[in-house]
């Protein structure tokens, strides 16, 4: 039988505020344990939480970017459970009346656009961190993360394959990073993904029993964890069994999901409206202000890169994945507006050499030592015939490594292209006289040897000879 997967994702994103959601403690990652807490976030009696306005703004911003309806009236709820990383014995979250509802984002899978519904986006506080390893018969608790603002983005069960889930996560991350509301780092836990997965025979309307897969803590595991879980469920059904509704943990070293069996308490959170926090009434005027501050989002930018710069979809997709890269590209393109093919040439340099050099040092575009104008200046040197395209790669790498301008490097290293016909002729003559056998074979009709001769001349001139002139002279001399 053929099965279809039904997947819904719950994504937790840490908001990039300076301070926690209900107190003024820092949200900085990686500080000494238990140095960023106060009576409010560690739940001392008698304290009162006060909402960080920026956190609410970030959630509204995200909701608008994901085509949600922003609730004019919204409130907090207490979710009650006991765990050592939760000092109050409850998490302040939202239950009914979340801030954002009924949105969607668009993903592209196999060249086709698909809408994935967003059920809701709500705001809540993060819990602390438990440490279980190397702690003997104890667990250690660090409450620095307690009270860091989170938003939970819940999708509709619209996702039908691990690949779609991965595309959804990529798009979500791109939007969050464009908005500057979350850094999207899954490895550090600032973006976390839980998946609700079920399968059903193809064509069946009713959903199958679902499991919740947790602990997918890296981008590369989104697809793997879901693929495993779908296969596992199919196997259970084919062997005549039943899928049990449960929470399963993804184990990345074993590459499997495992049942949490009994380690989890019954879900009985006894939500009720949070009495310590007053409701949020979001005024239209504020929503409009936030709306007008939204940056151009990845989808719109990608389409514009295609229409404005005439780039292939593939290029536009790569260049708009990260806003700083798109900005770098656009600045380079703006300062190099010589020809219609300019945008594509720059795209090739950015996708090719620049990305290669950045990857070598695991640097992001924000840490790129090269300014966009420097690439434009170098391209103009090619246009003027000062350097060849081949030499340009050397110049580019040198610019990247030293920060010097192209012209300076060309002068220093003597990389100026040889366009003097007599000098090139001399080299051509030398190559011909040194390789009589090849010359004979060429004359006997082995035309592909032309490449060999060009290569020899370039080698002799250290790559500096104008390739076109080399070609022409060789043809003339060998015919």
């Amino acid at each position: 039988m053929k099965y279809e997967a039904v997947i819904g994702l719950e994504v937790h994103a840490q908001l990039l505020t300076e301070t926690k959601i209900f107190c003024g403690c820092s949200t900085k990652f990686g500080s000494e344990p238990n140095t960023q807490t106060c009576p409010i976030c560690i739940g001392m009696p008698g304290v009162l939480p006060v909402l960080n306005k920026k956190a609410l703004e970030f959630v509204i911003k995200t909701g608008l970017a994901m085509n949600c309806r922003i609730s004019p009236y919204s409130r907090f709820a207490r979710k009650n459970y006991f765990y050592p990383d939760l000092p109050k014995g409850y998490q302040i979250s939202q239950y009914e009346l979340p801030i954002c509802e009924h949105g969607f984002i668009e993903i592209i899978v196999n060249g086709e656009m698909k809408k994935i519904g967003i059920t809701r986006i709500h705001i809540e506080e993060d819990a602390g961190k438990n440490i279980h390893e190397g702690t003997g018969n104890y667990s250690f608790v660090d409450l620095n993360r307690t009270g860091v603002p989170l938003m939970e983005i819940v999708s509709e069960p619209d996702i039908r394959s691990p690949q779609e889930a991965s595309e959804y996560m990529k798009k979500l991350r791109a939007i969050l990073r464009y908005l500057g509301v979350c850094d999207g780092n899954m490895e550090q836990g600032s973006l976390r993904c839980d998946a609700n997965v079920s399968i059903r025979p193809e064509g069946q309307k009713e959903y199958g029993t679902r499991t919740e897969v947790k602990n997918i803590n890296s981008f590369k595991f989104v697809e793997k964890a879901l693929e495993y879980e779908i296969k596992r469920q199919i196997k259970v059904l084919e062997e005549g069994g039943k899928v049990i509704q449960e929470t399963r943990l993804w184990d990345s070293t074993k590459g499997i999901t495992e049942s949490m069996r009994g380690k989890e308490e019954a879900h009985d959170y006894r939500y009720f409206p949070e009495p310590d926090l007053v409701p949020m009434i979001v005024e239209r005027k504020w929503i409009d202000e936030i709306k007008s501050s939204l940056p151009e989002l990845p989808d719109v930018k990608r389409e514009r890169f295609v229409s404005e710069y005439g780039l292939p979809e593939y290029d536009a997709d790569l260049l708009t994945d990260e806003k700083p890269l798109a900005d770098w590209y656009e600045e380079a393109t703006a300062s190099y507006s010589l020809s219609v093919s300019g945008p594509k040439i720059i795209s090739n340099w950015v996708k090719g050499e620049l990305t290669r050099l950045l990857n070598e040092e695991s640097k992001t575009i924000e840490e790129c030592p090269l300014r966009p104008e420097q690439l434009a200046d170098m391209l103009r040197l090619i246009d003027k015939g000062t350097i060849s395209g081949k030499i340009a790669k050397i110049v580019f790498e040198e610019m990247y490594k030293t920060g010097k301008d192209a012209e300076e490097i060309v002068k220093e290293k003597g990389l100026i292209q040889i366009t003097d016909e007599s000098a090139i002729e001399k080299a051509v003559d030398e190559v011909i006289s040194k390789n009589p056998k090849e010359v004979a074979r060429f004359k006997a009709g082995e035309e592909k040897l032309m490449g060999f001769f060009v290569g020899q001349v370039m080698k002799l001139t250290k790559g500096k000879a104008n390739p076109q002139m080399v070609n022409e002279l060789l043809k003339k001399k060998l015919s």
Binding site: G24, S26, N34, T37, N80, N137, P273, V278, P279
Partner: protein, 95 residues
């Protein structure tokens, strides 16, 4: 409305309370009478009345995203039943 012994035990478990048999009896009947009173309140017609989640008619009390000093680690940890010099210490959570 009668609250069963099992329900009392479930609620006690969720609240991490251990109750004696007598207490289960006592709290069971007290919880039942609280719910009976709720039933009484339910007799009121509240169709046109907005639900109240807060007694104060306030909304949008917010603060700016500005940093304030946290408290020294020793001060935070001293309130806990058990701790090391850097962490709160609890019985092993995952075996």
């Amino acid at each position: 409305m009668k609250i069963s012994k099992e329900e009392v035990e479930h609620i006690a478990k969720l609240a991490r309370l251990s109750l004696s048999g007598e207490e289960k009896e006592l709290f069971g009947s007290q919880l039942s009478s609280i719910l009976d009173y709720m039933e009484k309140l339910n007799e009121l017609d509240t169709r046109d009345i907005e639900p109240t989640s807060h007694v104060l008619s306030l909304s949008d009390v917010m603060r700016d995203d500005t940093l304030r000093h946290s408290i020294p680690r020793e001060d935070a940890l001293m309130n806990a039943p058990d701790h090391t010099d850097k962490f709160y210490r609890v019985p092993k959570i995952i075996e």
